[in-house]
């Protein structure tokens, strides 16, 4: 007898693995973002790093809602927090949390200690020094002759030297920071070597804070320390944590934007020609690169502290949620024709630096750095071009902050 064929009910499928994969177009975010924004803008994913299931939100208004909500915590130690780095629980337990992992009021006190040192004016005042460092490295590149790796020759050294300037590192210590920066983009390094480099850096920052507490100079870190000597709000370890945050926030991200931004501009020669002809277009072009490239598209994570409803979906207290700024920045409800790079658009309102009270405090520094680097690079080497097809470039598909491992260029 022929029984009716019954197919086994498909097991409830685990939500897709996260981060989602990027497409063959390496400058674009995962293509799945676009489908999700239309069909299921709040959905669940399974974190690759831990197997935990968490929510993602994909639309511009939703990302703003999550990152601006007082009912969303940034505390890495809360059980539901969607950590995307493999930190063992025993390490997490003892970890001195960075600014990015704190909630008010602790976060507010620490951020306010730092913010006066990173004002728009102070960052603009660094421009001549950034220009000097950029010029030196481009001169060295030209002397070497192409092809060279733009990541090693320009994208890594400029922000790492600016960082040294910012926190008042000089002399032989500059070499130490430079080597550390190089190690961080070296894919051949073993986890042990990486751990050793991190430990050595930690000791270095500890020493730096101690030295500046004793003998403050004229730099961001010294001024924060000097002011704190009066108020006594922060402990030694808080100050080390601030220095560490400046380090991690400050140069790998900038290096990645320099690399990817160069590719994006070279891939759009008409727009690049306009910026070269009129460098006053550069600040707007840079804002558009932030939007278009969204290098930290999956780094903004929270855990709900109260039940919250987003577009009819209930997120319960204790559940993790990742606000995809890279998806928000390609949302056609907010930006016209968002998949096109358009240096003339009004890209203000992009969420590449996050949103709400955790928004990147270094945004104005990277704005100045990119303005100097791109303007100088394309004016001093007008014939700059890629020395390898885009398809062959090594993109950081395996990193939380997206970028390039190397970028061969010539002229």
């Amino acid at each position: 007898m022929t029984a009716e064929v019954t197919t086994a009910p498909s097991a409830v499928e685990a939500p897709p693995a996260f981060p989602l994969s990027r497409s063959k177009c390496p400058l674009s975010p995962p293509p799945e973002y676009a489908r999700l924004r239309e069909e299921q803008s709040v959905s669940k994913v399974t974190l690759r790093v831990s197997g935990k299931q968490v929510w993602i939100v994909t639309r511009h208004d939703q990302v703003r809602q999550v990152l601006g909500s007082p009912d969303m915590s940034s505390n890495w130690k809360l059980p539901g927090y969607p950590l995307q780095v493999p930190l063992p629980p025993e390490v997490l337990e003892t970890l001195e949390l960075p600014l990015v992992a704190m909630d008010p009021p602790d976060h507010t006190v620490r951020r306010r200690a730092l913010i006066p040192e990173l004002t728009a004016k102070r960052m603009q005042a660094l421009r001549p020094r950034i220009q000097e460092v950029t010029d030196q490295h481009i001169t060295a590149m030209l002397a070497k002759g192409g092809p060279v790796d733009l990541i090693q020759e320009l994208a890594v050294p400029v922000p790492s030297l600016v960082f040294c300037e910012l926190i008042g590192v000089s002399g032989e210590n500059v070499g130490f920071f430079r080597r550390y920066a190089e190690q961080m983009v070296n894919r051949d390094i073993t986890p042990e070597e990486m751990g050793a480099a991190q430990y050595e850096m930690e000791m270095h920052l500890q020493g730096l804070v101690a030295a500046k507490t004793e003998n403050p100079g004229d730099d961001v870190l010294s001024r924060v320390i000097a002011k704190n000597n009066e108020t006594g709000e922060l402990e030694h370890n808080d100050l080390v944590a601030l220095a560490r945050m400046l380090l991690f926030g400050g140069f790998d991200t900038t290096a990645n934007i320099i690399g990817l931004g160069t590719v994006a501009l070279l891939q759009n020669p008409e727009q690049l020609a306009q910026v070269k002809a009129d460098p006053s277009l550069m600040p707007k072009a840079i804002e558009e690169l932030f939007r278009y490239l969204s290098i930290s598209d999956s780094a903004t994570a929270r855990v709900a502290t109260k039940d919250i409803e987003i577009d009819g979906v209930l997120i319960r207290a204790g559940e993790g949620i990742i606000a995809l700024n890279g998806s928000a920045n390609r949302d056609d409800r907010f930006f016209d024709n968002p998949d096109a790079l358009d240096i003339h658009r009004e890209a203000k309102g992009h969420l590449a630096f996050g949103h709400g009270n955790h928004q990147c405090p270094g945004a104005n520094l990277v704005r100045v750095e990119l303005d100097v680097v791109f303007t100088t690079l394309f004016s001093r080497i007008p014939t700059l071009r890629l020395a390898a097809p885009v398809e062959e470039l090594e993109f950081k598909h395996d990193q939380l902050i997206y970028g390039l491992y190397s970028l061969p260029v010539t002229w």
């Binding site: 306010r112 990173l118 004002t119 728009a120 603009q124 009270n357 928004q359």
Partner: protein, 65 residues
């Protein structure tokens, strides 16, 4: 037009002071917004509205007089 601002909300992103330094500045002590020109000419309205839209905590609003 008139610029309204909420210093309590301000987190000192400085996007306003960076983009329109003739209209906005930041307090040297706490980094929070200072409005240098509360009533800029109407020809600046679009620019100020764009900056207000990029404020991470929506501390800036533009009102009609």
């Amino acid at each position: 037009m008139r610029i309204r601002y909420d210093r309590e909300r301000c987190v000192g992103s400085g996007a306003c002071a960076f983009t329109l330094p003739d209209i906005f500045d930041q307090d040297e002590d706490d980094g929070r917004v200072l409005v240098l020109v509360e009533r800029p000419g109407s020809e600046r309205r679009k620019a100020v509205e764009d900056v207000a839209a990029s404020c991470p905590v929506f501390a800036l609003t533009v009102e009609d007089d």
